[in-house]
Symmetry: C2
Subunit: 430 residues, 2 copies
């Protein structure tokens, strides 16, 4: 075959996957909860009984990891172990135990003409998940889509291709063993970028794309997709310590938000301090951050002066630092004149993920929560709580920084659409 024939064949292959997914989604939409749960239970069993095969496949990926230029952290995320597979099986059973969102009545009414209306929660249809090197994403996304009645098309990264292929084979088998359509969850069997480009144009078969990964992947998907995309950009999360803060509480929350797990999107990256308490709060808080995790402090001139006077190591912040998701033990610090300046600063520089105000002043907290335009706006709590499990969703497919459909943590309900059901008795329109 020449290049054009190759490309046509690839386009046909991706189209067939999308068509099969669409057909499967129509079956899944009316599949009873028990049947979906049986498939999940079967998958959990297979993950346990086929651990040797999965570890072999994973070893192939790991053998290529240095050729692929993966960092130590990336290799760690890629690595499976018997223990991690046990955890994965456990997470599948947890999703099986969650309530099924499909069929929930969102609201209902009877119109003056007697037409009875209900909005019913239904699956979105076909969801494409585009992700990078973590094999657990393959299972997480497949099971959350299945539980919510959606067909999933999974397109993972090349660094994880052997592992993903082995996992997808078990998913297919679990579906077949329990009588569900095999196309309910399909892995794109190539990591060719051209396949992704084809996929992103199939808007008559695929209803939603969720990219999970770095910003460049998300930007590529957004630029090329004619299918609606739910984005999960980064988290440039702010802690604002107000004039009326309990300073001991503020320090505990700041240290937790920054250091408890700095590599995740809901960790704090930015600190704003009200000028009136900065001289008291900042040196002590900075010492606590240094002691907890040797946090690198990048300061505006005013905060730098306070830390210099207290002999605490720090650096001068650049403009870019104020909008950076460090994902490491680094914190940018600014002193602000007042609450309104803090709000305006956040609305200008934040990524709209999660912010928190520390204050004993209820009016200040309420103004902050009303005016800050982010997915989650907390008061006297760590930004680290902003996730699907901590917010009680029972599961999480990601955290949306978009405003349409879902904002903040997305669980099973957020993987659903709705439809209008109207029961009449012969009504016609005048």
């Amino acid at each position: 075959m020449n290049r054009t024939e190759d490309s046509d064949a690839l386009a046909q292959q991706v189209l067939a996957i999308a068509q099969n997914a669409r057909a499967a989604s129509l079956v899944l939409a009316t599949t009873p909860t028990a049947a979906k749960n049986a498939a999940l239970e079967r998958l959990a069993q297979l993950l346990q009984s086929h651990s040797a095969e999965l570890l072999d496949a994973n070893a192939q990926d790991l053998a290529e990891a240095s050729t692929n230029g993966l960092s130590a952290a990336q290799i760690d995320r890629l690595t499976l172990s018997t223990e991690r597979l046990e955890k994965l099986a456990h997470s599948v059973r947890e999703v099986a135990a969650l309530p099924d969102p499909v069929g929930e009545i969102i609201d209902e009414s009877t119109r003056p003409n007697g037409l009875h209306l209900r909005r019913l929660r239904v699956p979105i249809g076909v969801i494409g998940i585009i992700y990078e090197a973590r094999p657990n994403v393959t299972i997480d996304c497949a099971i959350l889509c299945l539980k919510s009645g959606n067909a999933a098309i999974l397109r993972g990264g090349k660094e994880c291709f052997h592992t993903n292929t082995a996992l997808a084979a078990l998913i297919t088998r679990a579906l077949a063993d329990t009588g569900l359509p095999a196309a309910a969850a399909q892995l794109i069997p190539t990591t060719d970028r051209a396949a992704l480009t084809h996929l992103l144009k199939l808007d008559s078969h695929i209803h939603c794309i969720i990219p999970r990964g770095g910003e460049s992947l998300i930007r590529f998907v957004t630029a090329h997709s004619t299918i609606p995309v739910i984005k999960h950009y980064n988290g440039v999360c702010f802690v604002y310590v107000d004039a009326a803060a309990d300073l001991a509480m503020a320090q505990r929350i700041l240290v937790n938000a920054k250091t408890q797990r700095p590599g995740v999107c809901n960790a704090a990256e930015q600190l704003l301090v009200h000028h009136s308490i900065a001289a008291t709060f900042l040196p002590a808080a900075a010492r606590a951050l240094r002691e907890a995790a040797a946090v690198e402090l990048r300061c505006d001139p005013a905060s730098a002066a306070l830390l210099a006077a207290a002999d605490i190591p720090h650096l001068a912040a650049t403009d870019a630092d104020y909008r950076t998701e460090f994902l490491s033990q680094t914190l940018a610090i600014r002193i602000v004149e007042d609450l309104e300046t803090a709000i305006a600063t956040i609305n200008r520089d934040s990524s709209g993920h999660t912010e928190t105000i520390i204050t004993a002043d209820r009016a200040a907290a309420q103004r902050f929560q009303a005016a800050v335009d982010s997915a989650a706006v907390l008061w006297n709590a760590s930004t680290r709580f902003s996730d699907g499990f901590e917010f009680g969703l029972g599961a999480e497919i990601g955290i949306s920084t978009d405003r349409l459909h879902a904002r903040g943590p997305m669980g099973l309900r957020e993987l659903c659409s709705y439809k209008w059901i109207g029961d009449g008795s012969g009504q016609i329109r005048a």
Copy 2:
């Protein structure tokens, strides 16, 4: 200026509009209901007191209408009159009278750690409306966005440019007169396609695009936008007359769905008839359609045979007819073997807008409503009920055929997002 400088200047102009809209949206998000309603009331007054100016501007557009190649129907939609302006002012006051969706608590919970969570309805932010030649869309969209706390960027068609400019001037004045930011609703002051292309890339300032118009406009927007789009494609709506239908009711509903207002998206375009009642139902129903509005009947071979035997004029349908939104007095007709065939046919050929089943068999209706994958699935009622007013939303900015965010009629709530508000007492994550 040379061409590149022109293009740069246009890009800068569009960017400034988007930035000003974003700034205005942050003010609107916390603007009290009374202030928004005052601006709406002021606009209603201005529409009445400035009718002469508006009619002058409209006359300019009408003078260019034949040069622009508008059809009689398009010219009718473009034409303003004192009576239409009175209606427009009335509709502004009706929106003012609707409940404000902003600030509604969608749900709330207290987590085991004491963190109290609420999901609060908030404006989406900045909404871009891309539309064609109808001047009332300028007012409709501006007032619905304002009431729901969103800044609006309006981009109308060139056929309506003078009228839109005059309407936008009144909107700006109503905002200024009542102390709201002038950038809360802005008209793009050019109909240059390049300005639209720039606009559709400004995803850091604009949060949602709603295209209203023909399919080619919607496809252009979808292909070029990096901003999330809520689409309002066409309505290829089906009436399915089941074996157990009350045939008199079926005929009434069919005639209403097809002929009461054939040019709108919720009019019926497709008829499926269960084979067991076709010989009884079809000739009578066809005669009723012919009598009501000389409906052109495009038939599959089985239905053609029945109409031929009854001497009723009809045509042979083409394959394309079965997926066509005629928007005229034309109906495509097929006879189906059973309920499941009807469902599969609809899920293959419909646009997913609105379908109805006519039957006295509750189980058949429930199966149809569960399995048909459309925004609205009715039972014993005309498809013509599928709109925001008839469904009780009090307003309608369009009817979404997408599955994300909003499906079916979109009112004020559907112009909102939400945010998570969390009140703690010092919670940190373990």
